[in-house]
């Protein structure tokens, strides 16, 4: 077995992982950093983010305002000390990216341009056309190439964390190109593996977003926090779930039901704003959870249209004109033409909600530290406490940068101080993993990976969708247990070593099932409605701060089931208030300034 000694291992080559690796490399050029990723870094899912990254930028904006929007958007479940830290460091991180060459869109005087975004009171979203994630990822990847300290392990799949007495010691990975096991040892490990959207059937996520890092941590006793909060993006393409950015609505796009009616005014987001005059926090610029829930209500009323068997509403961009669309939303024009054969300048785009983002994740403190010494988590796989019950669009790209930097620097500090652990300490763990891998090969009689995976994604879609109830979730949990039993009997039918994708998919499904189980268990425990978690059971339709101004903390029990604990939310300056949008919000301005 290949064995290598490093100082820091970063698992995941997306925005957060790259930012962390660069931060660590800047601490000391002699530090040895392994950037381990199951795909080439520029394939990571950060690439698909379209809209932008938020930071207080213009003179008429304030840190308090960004803080308020984020906390209110989170339905008061964000940790306010974390939000404070975040809004304070957001701007400097976006500037840093600019200094590294990110092609941010500009105003005619050459300063950075900001755009409107859902749930944000003021224009504060930096963007690079409608390919912001793409440009951020490529800027970070290309910048990372100039640091010799960063050694890339592209297409290495992490199978397990090496942990000795609550102290991280490295990772065990499979080299995809050869099938070899590789033991990477280090004093700090940063998990930056992204979300878990792929455990749902309709999602906007890349195929790689399978919850690997969350499950890796969970299996070593680390808690997953706020897992019940799964964000549906209101505008995905029907069938594929391909993302149509919120920036479309920021630019003035409107949502219509099958009768051409702007239905959002019926759901506390009105009054109707005039065409071409979008207003922050009104109508189409309400938060994502509200918009997705309004779709569900319209579908129940039979007011949605149909696109090849999928219920849809329509995103109308026609009034923006072809020139503006090509300039500001070029990718959207391409996607609409390619995947639903629609020219947005001439026809409204059929869209429907699709799972987009997992607010919850590996529990960390504001320094990105987990409960295992030397183990950090950042980005979508982590729950640092920023998003609470609902993430605001354009906060997560900034999150990658702000907390990526924190984790990189902290991990470097830890690695420089600590001594490595003798590798005899985890010899048994590795032997067990090797044996488990060897036992995987075989033939399946009548079950298959695809059948189990589809079973999981459909169960989650039905049981843990936009609206949830006790009965549906109980059924979902039972199905997940059954699927897990079937999974343990599955074999990997491809016995090859080189690029064995069947093996990787098998391991990913195992991770996904673990994560799905925590999502469902956490959702069952929260018997109120808050943000992205909406229950239809009697008496659970509203927020209940008396009992539930708390995070769910999901821990894996000895028998493999999930136990739920509770952790109070950090409230520093903004006591829970009503979460209001549209005209209802104007009576609320006193609170804005608090």
């Amino acid at each position: 077995m290949l064995q290598l000694d490093m100082d820091i291992i970063v698992v995941g080559g997306g925005g957060a992982g790259l930012r962390a690796a660069i931060a660590a490399a800047e601490v000391s050029p002699s530090i040895k950093i392994a950037l381990v990723s199951k795909v080439y870094p520029m394939r990571s899912h950060t690439v698909a983010a379209e809209g932008g990254a938020a930071a207080v930028t213009s003179d008429d904006d304030s840190l308090q305002s960004h803080f308020y929007d984020t906390v209110a958007g989170s339905d008061w479940l964000a940790d306010q000390n974390v939000v404070e830290f975040f809004v304070q460091h957001a701007y400097q991180e976006l500037v840093q990216l600019e200094r590294w060459g990110c092609p941010w869109s500009r105003k005619s005087d050459g300063t950075v341009q900001v755009r409107r975004f859902g749930g944000m009171k003021t224009e504060r979203t930096w963007f690079a056309a409608d390919k912001t994630g793409f440009h951020i990822l490529h800027t970070l990847f290309q910048t990372s190439l100039k640091y010799p300290a960063i050694k890339r392990f592209d297409e290495y799949f992490v199978l397990d964390l090496l942990v000795v007495e609550q102290q991280v010691a490295g990772v065990l990975a499979i080299r995809y190109s050869t099938g070899e096991l590789v033991q990477l040892r280090a004093k700090s490990v940063i998990l930056a593996t992204g979300g878990a959207g792929r455990v749902f059937h309709y999602n906007t996520n890349s195929g790689i977003v399978t919850g690997d890092g969350m499950a890796l941590a969970l299996r070593h006793g680390v808690a997953l926090r706020d897992m019940e909060f799964v964000q549906y993006h209101p505008t995905g393409l029907p069938g594929s779930g391909i993302l149509i950015t919120e920036a479309c609505r920021g630019e003035g796009g409107i949502l219509l039901n099958k009768d051409g009616y702007r239905y959002l005014q019926d759901y506390g987001l009105g009054p109707e704003t005039p065409l071409g005059e979008p207003r922050n926090k009104y109508m189409e610029l309400g938060p994502r959870d509200r918009l997705s829930q309004a779709f569900w209500q319209q579908q129940k009323l039979g007011l949605t249209g149909d696109y090849q068997g999928h219920a849809v509403v329509y995103l109308d961009l026609r009034h923006l004109g072809e020139k503006h669309l090509n300039e500001r939303l070029p990718l959207i024009c391409e996607l609409a033409k390619d995947y639903v054969n629609v020219d947005p300048a001439k026809t409204p785009i059929p869209i429907r909600p699709a799972v987009h983002y997992t607010m919850g994740g590996i529990m960390t403190n504001v320094d990105c530290e987990t409960s295992i010494n030397g183990l950090f988590a950042i980005g979508e796989c982590a729950s640092v406490g920023l998003h609470g019950a609902n993430r605001l669009g354009s906060n997560s790209l900034t999150e990658l940068l702000v907390f990526g930097k924190v984790a990189g620097e902290k991990a470097a500090g830890t690695a420089l101080q600590k001594n490595g652990i003798s590798h005899h300490a985890f010899a048994t763990q590795i032997a067990e993993q090797e044996a488990a891998l060897a036992a995987l090969h075989g033939h399946n009689s009548d079950d298959s990976l695809v059948a189990v995976r589809t079973g999981m994604t459909l169960a989650m879609e039905q049981g843990c969708g936009i609206y949830r109830d006790e009965e549906g979730m109980q059924r979902c949990l039972e199905q997940l247990h059954e699927l897990n039993t079937r999974y343990t009997q599955l074999k990997v039918v491809d016995h090859g070593k080189v690029y064995n994708s069947a093996l990787l998919q098998h391991l990913e499904l195992g991770f996904g099932l673990d994560v799905a189980m925590t999502i469902c268990s956490s959702a069952l425990a929260r018997t109120e409605s808050r943000g992205a978690h909406q229950r239809t059971d009697d008496g659970m339709g509203t927020r209940n701060d008396g009992e539930f101004l708390q995070h769910t903390v999901a821990v894996r029990q000895v028998d493999g089931s999930v136990g739920i604990h509770w952790q109070p939310v950090s409230v520093t300056s903004l006591p829970p208030g009503q979460r209001l949008y549209g005209d209802a919000n104007t009576s609320n301005t006193a609170e804005d300034k608090s």
């Binding site: 394939r43 698909a48 600019e98 200094r99 500009r106 195929g207 996607l335």
Partner: protein, 241 residues
């Protein structure tokens, strides 16, 4: 949905001497992409390996040859190939398994041209860059590193040391950026034997580029810069004498 036949090039390095084409049945309608078809085949035969991820033509993973032309699988639709359809691995790269090729040479070329902003000034404020200055390089910053241009380039096929379209376009992107001061560091790579002058403006790289980056234009603009650079250096060295 109708059933149809497609061909896929298969290669298992642990069993086969060389790649061969196999035929598969898939269900297809108007929206079925080559990537969808590959996923269907993988359900029948899990040993089929190919790269994919975003399904929306931005991650650059799923490049393959479709009837001998480099394409992104997710952006290519079966409806456009009513007669025959054969999917094979990207040309000019070594095949690792089935549709997976060795991308390491591509990454080496990319890294060689110093594709990062070179400017040692320390500052906590953004540069000023007008939309016009941005427009000069923006197109060349849209490369998704899918590698289709390398499969389209006969010069890269003949000489794998050629830096190639994507890398040279990226060098040009940074050279054109008003914030960058590193042109002098990159020009030796452009001027070198395997730099811009290897290109003969076949132009197929730009034809197959899924993001309309037009690397051929970038390289040939690079030739103009390279010529200027070489003439200048002649003057400089004669000045020294």
């Amino acid at each position: 949905m109708t059933s149809r036949n497609i061909g896929i090039m298969r290669y298992n390095p642990e069993q086969d001497k060389k790649p061969h084409t196999e035929s598969y049945q898939v269900e297809a309608d108007d929206n079925t992409s080559v990537l969808d078809a590959l996923q269907q085949v993988q359900q029948q035969d899990p040993s089929l390996s190919f790269r994919w991820s975003c399904r929306m033509a931005i991650c650059g993973s799923c490049g393959v040859m479709v009837n001998s032309v480099p394409k992104l699988g997710c952006q290519t639709f079966l409806r456009d190939y009513p007669d025959s359809l054969v999917i094979s691995p990207l040309s000019n790269f070594a095949v690792e398994k089935d549709l997976i090729v060795d991308m390491e040479p591509f990454l080496e070329h990319l890294s060689a041209i110093k594709p990062w902003l070179i400017n040692s000034e320390q500052s906590t404020v953004p540069h000023v860059q007008t939309p016009q200055q941005l427009a000069r390089y923006q197109q060349f910053a849209n490369c998704i590193n899918c590698g289709l241009c390398y499969s389209a380039c006969p010069q890269f096929g003949l000489n794998p040391e050629f830096r190639g379209p994507a890398a040279l376009a990226l060098a040009h992107r940074y050279n054109l950026d008003s914030r960058d001061l590193g042109k002098a560091e990159r020009m030796p790579q452009l001027n070198a034997k395997d730099g811009v002058w290897t290109c003969t403006f076949v132009g197929f790289c730009s034809e197959v580029c899924p993001k309309k980056v037009d690397p051929a234009a970038a390289i040939n603009q690079g030739k103009v810069e390279s010529a200027k650079d070489m003439i200048l250096s002649v003057f400089k060295s004669s000045g020294v004498r």
